[in-house]
């Protein structure tokens, strides 16, 4: 298998948003949603639908949108050549809870817009709509973050020759830190980090 490279990385830590290992945005808020809203207000602000997303979709959207905006990957390659994969442990937990509470309260109808978010891949769909990404996409469930899994899946997609680059990340809405996303491709020798377990872990821990 060819070597692959982490061309760009983003990580949301307790104290800030880190891009390629450097803190770019200070985040003092306690909760993840407040952090995300703050990032949206200061860094994005051009997708009003953001406010109507649930916690999971907001997280995926922030990570996916920022990496596409900063790397301009959709200018470099066609949207059909960009693969997009996200992983987490709890699926669509925020909306699952809300939906369950709604249907238990005795009222006949649940919230349709909330129900749509009980699918963890819907947030990815929003990123694809905004950036016109029509390439391969998956959402996987793993018990916990695995740097090895991220490396392997990136290499799997790139080695099949159906994509020129992959955006891949971990979006766990129940975790206040450690959510991260990577742009990985076969380009970047000598400039970008090698796509290895060690490097993925370092980035996630903001080392």
């Amino acid at each position: 298998m060819n070597e692959s490279y982490i061309n760009y990385s983003l990580s949301i830590a307790k104290d800030g948003l880190y891009c390629n290992g450097s803190k770019e945005v200070d985040l003092q808020q306690e909760g993840l949603i407040e952090k995300l809203d703050s990032i949206y207000d200061s860094q994005i602000k051009d997708y009003p639908k953001y406010y109507r997303m649930d916690g999971m979709a907001k997280l995926v959207f922030i990570l996916g949108d920022l990496i596409c905006a900063r790397t301009k990957i959709c200018d470099d390659i066609d949207g059909s050549d960009l693969a997009f994969v996200m992983l987490n442990a709890t699926g669509s937990f925020p909306s699952d809870s809300i939906h369950n509470n709604l249907i238990m309260d005795g009222f006949e109808r649940a919230s349709p817009s909330n129900f749509v978010y009980t699918l963890p891949n819907v947030g990815m769909g929003e990123v694809c709509i905004k950036w016109k990404i029509t390439g391969e996409g998956l959402f996987l469930i793993e018990d916990e973050f695995s740097a090895n899994c991220i490396c392997e899946i990136a290499d799997l997609f790139l080695s099949q020759g159906k994509c020129k680059a992959i955006v891949i990340g971990w979006a766990e809405p129940t975790e206040n830190e450690g959510n991260c996303i990577f742009l990985i491709s076969n380009k970047g020798k000598g400039i970008n980090l090698l796509n290895t377990e060690k490097n993925i872990l370092k980035i996630r821990k903001n080392e």
Binding site: P48, Y51, R52, F107, E108, R109, A110, S111, P112, S113, V116
Partner: protein, 84 residues
């Protein structure tokens, strides 16, 4: 519907659709809510149907009727009024 009741209707619309960045005053009574208006879509239409049932006890059982009824704050208000 009185202007107070319409105001309440608008606040329900904002709450149910999570339109956090929209103020009540920005929603004009006769303006289209969909397409170029507030940019609402088919899922939002379904959400409004749930809102009308929950808050006003008025059912819309055929979603294809939704287009006409949900066109604007005025058309929603008129429908609720005629059903009560």
């Amino acid at each position: 519907m009185s202007s107070e009741e319409k105001s309440l209707l608008k606040s329900h619309i904002i709450n149910y659709l999570n339109l956090e960045d929209v103020k009540q005053e920005e929603i004009q009574d006769a303006a289209s809510l969909f397409g170029d208006g507030l940019g609402l879509d088919s899922i939002d239409a379904l959400e409004l149907i749930v809102m009308i049932e929950r808050e006003y006890n008025v059912k819309i059982s055929d979603p294809s009727m939704g287009k006409e009824i949900l066109y604007s704050v005025d058309t929603i208000a008129n429908y609720i009024f005629t059903q009560k």
